[in-house]
């Protein structure tokens, strides 16, 4: 009997400890996020029927696919495709350069002239949920004088809107 009581008390202590770890970890996360320069709002914005607009780190600006299309039509910006080379080969925004995050250091020096010549850069990846565009945009913002935008709805948003696409190998 006392053994069963002991086990029950130990299980209660273990559960209480687990709860403390979760609450403590969550509180630590909120605290660090509050003071971190990479912190994001605790609650994401959502506007109307559009896909969610998750927050971007400081220094980056969001752009809708319609705004991006206007910039593409007017040749006012360089498009940067942050997806894998194979996805780029299968389809991309015409004129976009391919710059996945894990190739940034290797490829950026070769692309720097084209990027610098453009007044601003619009970075995209597959859709709202991919983080690669944000990652590339953050690195770009560190080395590039112009404005850096993230087209949050990504390739999926662009193709869903019926805007022009191209396919084929990337240029070196």
């Amino acid at each position: 009997m006392s053994g069963a009581r002991g086990r029950s008390a130990a299980a209660e202590r273990a559960l209480f400890g687990a709860l403390a770890i979760m609450v403590g970890g969550a509180a630590l996360g909120l605290l660090v996020n509050h003071f971190s320069p990479r912190g994001i709002p605790v609650f994401a914005r959502q506007s109307g029927e559009k896909p969610v607009s998750l927050s971007l780190p400081a220094g980056l600006q969001s752009m809708t696919v319609e705004e991006a299309y206007a910039a593409w039509r007017d040749q006012a910006a360089l498009f940067v495709d942050a997806r894998a080379p194979q996805e780029y080969r299968e389809g991309h925004i015409p004129g976009a350069v391919n710059l996945p995050p894990d190739e940034f250091e290797d490829r950026y020096p070769d692309l720097a002239d084209r990027v610098e010549a453009a007044g601003s850069a619009i970075v995209y990846c597959q859709g709202v949920e991919c983080g690669d565009a944000v990652m590339v945009a953050e690195r770009l913002a560190e080395v590039y004088e112009g404005s850096v935008y993230v087209m949050e709805e990504g390739w999926e948003g662009w193709t869903a809107a019926g805007f022009p696409v191209a396919s084929g190998e990337r240029r070196p």
């Binding site: 130990a10 969550a26 859709g127």
Partner: protein, 178 residues
């Protein structure tokens, strides 16, 4: 009687006892804790240093209301890193292992739901910058294996140096676990 031979049933029972002794051994406990705790800390760090990117991965699972996605992306990696480091260090071993097992169960459920709905998304288990893993049933099976490992410190919790933290008996009513 045939000297060294035991009847089949007894041989099976002896094998089960040997397996249980190996599973309950403090060294097995230390290996399980360090492995699992290390994996949790290693995989949490990129997520907690890139909250905006991780929020997108969480959003991709299409489970949470979008307004809650950021909250989950901010808190989850810190819960992972707290539980993982506690587990590796043997601090509250049973509790931290329970949190790790709970998180793994949550990840498996969320992943299975996403796959069943035909979503083609990044796993986010390890960070895409490191592996670029697409969510697959195989990755969920890996989570299942980690879940099985997490049961060891729950049943036989050990402290940092492998000292036994339980199980409690009637003669040790207070126990010394957590």
């Amino acid at each position: 009687m045939d000297g060294g031979r035991l009847p089949c049933g007894l041989r099976g029972a002896a094998a089960v006892r040997r397996a249980a002794a190996i599973l309950a051994h403090p060294v097995t406990g230390a290996v399980c804790r360090l492995l699992l705790g290390g994996i949790f800390v290693y995989t949490a760090v990129p997520k907690l240093t890139h909250p905006a990117e991780f929020a997108r991965l969480v959003y991709g699972y299409r489970i949470l209301d979008p307004s809650l996605v950021n909250l989950a992306a901010i808190t989850l990696p810190w819960i992972e890193v707290t539980a993982g480091s506690f587990l590796a260090l043997g601090v509250l071993p049973r509790s931290s292992a329970a949190v790790v097992a709970g998180l793994l169960a949550l990840f498996m459920a969320a992943g299975a739901l996403a796959l069943a709905r035909g979503l083609k998304i990044e796993c986010g288990c390890f960070f895409p910058l490191l592996t670029g893993d697409r969510l697959t049933w195989r990755l969920l099976a890996r989570d299942g294996a980690l879940f099985a490992i997490a049961l060891q410190p729950i049943v036989w919790p050990t402290s940092f140096l492998g000292g036994r933290r339980g199980p409690r008996t009637g003669r040790d009513p207070g126990g010394n676990d957590e």
